[in-house]
């Protein structure tokens, strides 16, 4: 039997001139799970958006059961039985699961009668073995359940080919196991699945065949049985192995930051951080792992002076910190690499130089009399900063928008490290970056540690936390489930704690 789906010579050039795909061939057989592996920006998502009708290829053809097809929009692809679950969910937040599932297939043309569809949806869910509360608004459901709704939505349209884009990025290890069991059931039912990921472990576990993309080209294709992690990694990044950051072993010094019983209120008015205590010592990296949305952002914002403290206290160098403002936090020696540089860390339309003094614009160093900015000094400072932190920019007066993502992040990291802080608050410092920038920023954090600074690393990337940290904590629903030296935990234990389960004999 031939492949169900065949894509040939797919090219994609975005309107802004970015070349995403340079002649990709891809095929998918019935009852097959194909892992589509690659780094950020390798073109995985673009390729699958083309297959699901969301994007049109610049060149190349798609065949289904041997017949060439042309998808002008997602509806065309759905009619051909192809549906995609996007990494960023396409759910209407205030709508219930039922409403989200039936959107576009309401079963009537005029009046909205949801109960007619309800039976059908329920039958489908039973058939494939998904459990979903149908009448709760999406915005109140956890990510794992939202993902099930996304899948149910696609299946409700009679999909035979299911594309999943980085489906595990927001899931706990337990939820991942459950998802994998579900995918295998679907496969046994004869459906084909494309599984997009950059995680080697997962692709080796779930797929039958693996296709690796790099820079818009297929760099390798292999049956999973024959694949090794080393080979896949080489296809993915083009180099044999990414060197691990080396750390000098040395004993940590005095505690720099002490947090006692801290409680912080989140945006919804409910406690997001629920009584957390820990300390970060000079010369150590303390890593907080956990699935995003478990209070890490609120914790970081409280320490950075962006969110009031509801209860508890924060001590820096033994002295209690009062109600913090961002400026006060900096004055006391806290540097804050914020979780999302585009949202908090910089202004894209500002010049590189302007961004290099963001959060320091009030400092007398950069001012002359009457609150005037001392431009010559700012420009010199920026030039030095760019050089010291290997930021590649068209110029100090170029808009920050003209820098690549990695260089933007290096600018933000450099700006914060240049503050000569006592404590570095690094939140998702390498998220979404290319391999080289990621390695460089991790190296910088370790250098800071070796230089005797205290580093508090918050990251959703478990590998990053494990690689960099001296001690770690796992945060779940606003609390720490485990704190200790990194060697004291196995990966599996951490995985369990990220899902809210404290392993036997591991009381906090």
């Amino acid at each position: 039997m031939g492949p169900r789906i065949e894509m040939r010579g797919i090219h994609k050039v975005y309107p802004d001139g970015t070349v995403a795909l340079r002649g990709v061939d891809f095929r998918l057989g019935p009852g097959e799970i194909v892992g589509l592996l690659g780094e950020n920006g390798a073109g995985k998502t673009t390729l699958m958006k083309i297959l699901s009708g969301l994007l049109q290829p610049t060149r190349g053809e798609i065949r289904i059961d041997g017949r060439p097809v042309r998808f002008r929009n997602p509806a065309d692809a759905l009619r051909a039985g192809i549906g995609m679950v996007h990494q960023i969910f396409t759910l209407v937040p205030p709508y219930t699961a039922l409403e989200n599932i039936i959107l576009g297939q309401e079963g009537s043309n005029l009046w909205l009668v949801k109960d007619r569809a309800r039976d059908q949806v329920q039958r489908l869910l039973e058939e494939v073995g998904l459990s979903i509360p149908l009448d709760t608004p999406m915005e109140l459901l956890p990510i794992g359940v939202q993902q099930r709704v996304e899948i149910a939505k696609v299946l409700y349209r009679g999909t035979q080919t299911l594309i999943l884009d980085e489906p595990t990025s927001a899931l706990t290890p337990l939820e991942v196991d459950e998802l994998f069991r579900f995918l295998r059931r679907l496969k046994e039912g004869g459906r084909s699945i494309v599984f997009i990921t950059h995680k080697l472990r997962e692709v080796l576990e779930i797929s039958d065949r693996i296709v690796v993309l790099r820079n818009g080209r297929v760099t390798g294709e292999i049956s999973t049985r024959e694949a090794t992690p080393e080979l896949l990694a080489e296809w993915m990044v083009g180099r044999a192995v990414v060197p691990r950051v080396s750390r000098s072993p040395h004993p940590p010094g005095e505690p720099v930051l002490i947090v006692r019983d801290l409680e912080v209120i989140g945006d919804l008015g409910l406690p997001a951080v629920k009584g957390v205590s820990f300390e970060v010592r000079a010369g150590e990296i303390f890593g907080i792992a956990g699935v995003e949305g478990n209070g890490q952002s609120e914790l970081a914002q409280a320490l950075g002076g962006l969110r009031p403290i509801h209860r508890g206290e924060i001590l820096l160098d033994g002295k209690p910190l009062p109600a913090l403002t961002p400026i006060e936090a900096y004055r006391r020696g806290i540097a804050h690499i914020p979780e999302d540089r585009l949202r908090f860390g910089m202004a894209l339309n500002f010049e590189v130089a302007e961004n290099s003094i963001l959060s320091r614009q009030w400092e007398p160093t950069f001012l002359r009399g009457w609150g005037r900015l001392d431009w010559p000094r700012i420009l010199a400072f920026t030039a030095a900063l760019l050089q010291r932190f290997q930021v590649i920019a068209p110029g100090v007066r170029a808009p920050a928008r003209s820098l690549s993502g990695g260089n933007q992040q290096k600018l933000v990291v450099g700006r914060e490290l240049a503050k000569e802080p006592r404590l570095i608050l690094a939140v998702h410092p390498t998220r979404g970056l290319d391999v080289a920038s990621t390695a460089y920023i991790r190296e910088l954090l370790v250098q800071m540690r070796d230089a005797g600074k205290a580093v508090l690393l918050i990251s959703a990337d478990l590998d990053e936390v494990l690689e960099l940290s001296d001690r770690i904590a796992v945060m779940y629903e606003g609390k720490f489930l485990g704190v200790g030296p990194v060697e004291a935990f196995t990966r599996e234990e951490i995985g369990l704690m990220m899902g809210g389960i404290v392993p036997q004999g591991r009381a906090v």
């Binding site: 403002t325 961002p326 914020p338 908090f344 202004a347 963001l358 959060s359 009457w370 900015l373």
Partner: protein
């Protein structure tokens, strides 16, 4: 090249606006080419006309600053109209009723107008900061309240005895000197340009301006940078109010022959709204605003010749203003233009 692009875009938008305006003349059997010829000849034909064009440009560059300084801080402040009315009233009061020595009188009248404009912007500013009331609604409501208040004051308290249609004229001691015999251009244009320069310097040369622009570009980054957002917004409103107040004053103590406010507010009306288009064409930059103001001043002054020679009502230039603004709102247009240029 990077700096030239905004200029090019503005010129294209102006061109499209003029063409669309010409299209609007066709159904009524006017002759667009004849009309525009009359307009531009009228605007720039003689040195005298150039000066008149500059006189028309003076208030526009100021009301453009009101809008631009708002946009830079992330506000859509369309309250220049009302702030200008109140500024004009302040100028009439100070210029016609306070007996002061020459020199000082001009200064006081100018400052009173600016303070009045700033005060009128204070309420929408505080409503925005404290209650989150959107400035589009609050400033428009304040424009209308200002319209009725200014009319009332002009008629009941400041009217010229025996002449109900206008207020007392500014005393000679409060009048800006006329720059050339027979022209309506006065030295107030220098004050206006100075004000634009000052705002430019403030926005790009001071911490306060940096923080205002940061609030406009990315409010969350501003919070992260320790900026007091309410304060930055307040200053944006107040500086805008001062600019509008000065624009009002420029029509009272800087514009012969009336040297006064008409009871209909006819000699200031719509200058505030016109400033929005001026600011957008000037890319919300105080200096770009000066250039754009001269262009719009030309349209307004030349519009009178268009009316005289081609019969086209001069108010059509306001419609052209709107068309230019609509054109500038469409980013896709620029992608198209750029593609055509690079191919």
């Amino acid at each position: 090249m990077r700096r030239a692009r905004p200029l090019l875009e503005s010129l294209v938008a102006v061109g499209i606006g003029l063409i669309a305006g010409g299209a609007l003349m066709l159904p009524f059997r006017y002759h667009p080419l004849k009309a525009y010829q009359a307009l531009f000849q009228g605007a720039f034909g003689t040195p005298h006309d150039v000066m008149e064009t500059l006189a028309f440009a003076t208030p526009l560059m100021l009301t453009a600053v009101t809008f631009a300084v708002g946009v830079r801080a992330g506000l859509f402040n369309i309250g220049a109209e009302g702030q200008m009315y109140i500024g004009a009233i302040g100028a009439v009061f100070a210029a016609s009723l306070l007996p002061l020595p020459p020199g000082l009188h001009i200064l006081v009248a100018t400052l009173v107008a600016m303070i009045c404009g700033a005060l009128w912007s204070l309420v929408p500013a505080l409503l925005k900061i404290w209650r989150g009331v959107h400035e589009v609604i609050s400033t428009i409501m304040f424009n209308w309240i200002a319209f009725h208040l200014a009319t009332y004051l002009a008629i009941y308290y400041l009217a010229e005895p025996g002449r109900a249609e206008r207020t007392r004229p500014a005393l000679p001691t409060a009048r800006y000197p006329i720059l050339a015999e027979g022209s309506t251009l006065t030295a107030v244009i220098f004050v206006a340009i100075l004000f634009c320069l000052a705002v430019y310097f403030l926005l790009w040369g001071t911490r306060m301006g940096y923080e205002m622009r940061l609030v406009g570009e990315n409010p969350e980054a501003a919070r992260y940078a320790g900026v007091q957002i309410g304060q930055a917004l307040l200053w944006s409103f107040l500086i805008g109010g001062m600019a509008a107040g000065l624009a009002g004053a420029s029509q009272i103590i800087g514009r012969p022959p009336a040297w006064s406010l008409y009871a209909t507010l006819g000699n200031v009306a719509t200058l505030g709204f016109d400033g929005i288009g001026v600011a957008l064409v000037g890319r919300n930059h105080p200096l770009g605003g000066i250039l754009a103001a001269i262009l719009f001043g030309a349209l307004q002054h030349g519009g009178r010749f268009m009316e005289y020679h081609a019969g086209v009502v001069s108010e059509l230039v306001r419609a052209v203003n709107g068309l230019i603004v609509i054109t500038l709102a469409i980013p896709e247009l620029w992608t198209l233009v750029r593609r055509r240029l690079t191919l």
